[in-house]
């Protein structure tokens, strides 16, 4: 791998791939250490709440009205002007294309007018590299990416070098949380509300399946679990607060057990692949990484297997632009750039690991997972 350049760079990052409008300035020093100079996130939760999920057209409309002020706020908070920035990075995929267009065009305009390089960034790469910004984790490491759109185990070998070891064959984990919440009448966003309800629940009242537990391959599946939750909940409806708490707790228990089984196998494979790794690390990223039960389960698992467990601070688990700025800075330091970025088209699908065979839903726009 190429040696990174030893200079300080400041990157403005923009993230608009789903329902957060975000901008951030991140500094990467000559030793490769990162510092977040600003991190502004405007959530659209209230705009989408009535619809029980993110509506793409509503999201795109909100991004275009808000983004320029969010960028100005991020520069202001960092105490910098656009002239002080060394590059502009923006999420160019995967995600909702209406929002991606707003972020990428704004970034193109800023970069062109200020005569700075433009860095189109893969949103998943942003999540994958966050642990290097927050904890300076060295390559290689194992990444568990768990969000509303993705559930993947990825070997991170270097910037731009990813090997997908496992992925979901149906729903993403965050999606399973959101659908469970909606079914039992918890408000949007569902994931955090399931976690809150589960605190007072009896996790042994319902025994839900642990999908793919014991299987050798490292994939995930959550649709059967979702069905089991629906059947159990329908059988006892109308639901009391205690019912909702018990379902949430039992569901969350099933998730923690499933992750324990799936990730344990990945840790073993990592050990076999890198027997000389002095301090092997598991990094968790994505919105579900904010769940304390999930974190607790993974912490215990890593302790049992001698892995360092790295979870980013809560505000960097969900979508944010600091991770995009950082991924841009890492790419820039290595001289990695896309050819002709000003012509770059947003990509609704953009797998991190282009080599792996699609598991589900591959079409003209590429692999879904």
């Amino acid at each position: 791998m190429m040696e990174p350049i030893a200079v300080t760079i400041r990157v403005l990052g923009i993230e608009t791939s789903c329902d957060e409008t975000a901008a951030s300035v991140v500094l990467r020093d000559e030793n490769g250490q990162g510092t977040i100079l600003s991190n502004v996130v405007l959530s659209q939760v209230t705009e989408h709440a009535a619809f029980g999920g993110v509506v793409p057209e509503i999201a795109a409309r909100a991004h275009v009205e808000a983004l320029d002020d969010i960028v100005a706020a991020a520069l202001d908070e960092a105490g910098l002007t656009l002239g002080d920035i060394d590059a502009v990075a923006a999420t160019a995929g995967p995600g909702l294309v209406g929002g991606l267009i707003v972020g990428l065009m704004t970034a193109k305009a800023l970069a062109a007018a200020a005569d700075k390089p433009l860095l189109p960034v893969n949103h998943l790469e942003g999540h994958a590299l966050t642990a290097r910004l927050t904890d300076g984790v060295a390559f290689p490491y194992l990444l568990l990416l768990v969000s509303g759109g993705h559930t993947q185990l990825v070997l991170v070998k270097g910037v731009g070098q990813y090997e997908r070891w496992g992925t979901t064959i149906d729903d993403a984990l965050g999606e399973a949380f959101d659908k469970t919440a909606k079914l039992i009448g918890l408000p949007f966003p569902g994931g955090p509300n399931v976690e809150i309800a589960a605190r007072d629940g009896d996790e042994t009242r319902f025994v839900f399946p642990r999908p793919l537990k014991g299987e050798k391959r490292l994939d995930f599946s959550f649709s059967g679990l979702k069905t089991a939750v629906r059947q159990a909940a329908t059988a006892i409806a109308p639901l009391s607060a205690k019912d909702r708490a018990d379902i949430s707790a039992s569901f969350q228990r099933a998730i923690v057990d499933t992750l324990d089984d799936r990730v344990r196998r990945a840790l073993t494979r990592f050990r076999e692949t890198f027997p000389d790794a002095a301090e092997p690390a598991l990094v968790v990223a994505g919105g579900v990484a904010a769940n304390q039960a999930v974190r607790g389960g993974l912490t215990a698992l890593c302790a049992r297997h001698g892995f360092r467990f790295v979870a980013p601070p809560i505000k960097l688990c969900g979508d944010n632009a600091a991770m995009i700025a950082w991924a841009g800075a890492e790419r820039m330091a290595l001289g990695l750039s896309h050819e002709d970025p000003m012509h770059f088209a947003p990509r609704s699908r953009w797998p991190l690991d282009a080599q792996s065979a699609p598991v589900v839903g591959s079409g003209r726009r590429g692999a879904k997972a």
Binding site: G52, E57, A60, V71, V102, D115, K182, A241, M342
Partner: protein
């Protein structure tokens, strides 16, 4: 004033550098889709042809629709990004006012109904008097309601929906049948807008077409 105008609201992708009361350079391509890929290099080209750089610009003019939602957002986000980076104002121009302005330039003294095909058997329309002042503001309606709103008056028709109206109300002549005006028209109108206008926002005229989800929610006891 040196102004850059951009149009990505329909099938065309276009950019123009305007100074004083004329265009220094303009570029237009009929691409259908793919504005996000092409626009920045087109702006680069038109600036070079005009002998200008970004730092020479003092205003951005952008087409805000009605038209393609995605296309309009490509233009508006680019315009607002340029305005932020260059610390200059961006102003919005509607497709309807520009189409009407072109018809009025050819036929002074008449009023004009600008009407654009909005699909789903609807039309975007606005009615302008001989000075280009709106008599009926932009709206999205079916053909019958469009006509009911404008009444029997003596007006010209222009825009991609003109034939739909002419078929129901013979006797009105059609000036042009395009979904968007020429980029020079947009530049001229943008240059004439007063300072201190608010930031350009897309003019959708339609809601986001989202319905509250009626998905399966179990009844609650408390």
């Amino acid at each position: 004033m040196t102004l850059l105008a951009i149009d990505t609201s329909a099938n065309l992708c276009a950019a123009c550098v305007w100074e004083g009361d004329g265009a220094l350079a303009s570029v237009t391509q009929d691409i259908g889709t793919g504005h996000a890929e092409l626009l920045m290099s087109m702006i680069q080209d038109v600036l070079r042809q005009a002998g200008k750089t970004y730092s020479d610009l003092s205003r951005i003019g952008v087409v805000i629709g009605p038209g393609s939602f995605t296309g309009v957002r490509v233009g508006v986000s680019t315009a607002r990004g340029l305005a932020l980076a260059l610390n200059i104002p961006a102003v919005g121009v509607t497709t309807l006012e520009a189409l009407a302005a072109e018809a009025l330039a050819l036929h002074p003294g008449r009023s004009v109904l600008a009407v654009i095909d909005a699909r789903r058997e609807q039309l975007y329309s606005a009615l302008y008097d001989q000075a280009g002042v709106p008599l009926a503001e932009p709206a999205v309606l079916d053909a019958g309601a469009t006509l009911a709103r404008t009444g029997e008056g003596d007006f010209l028709l222009t825009g991609s929906g003109a034939a739909t109206i002419a078929a129901r109300m013979p006797g009105h002549s059609i000036v042009a049948e395009r979904a968007t005006a020429s980029i020079e028209t947009y530049a001229r109108l943008a240059a004439a807008k007063p300072d201190g206008s608010e930031k350009p926002k897309p003019l959708y005229l339609r809601g986001a077409d989202a319905k509250p989800q009626a998905s399966f929610i179990l009844p609650a006891r408390d």
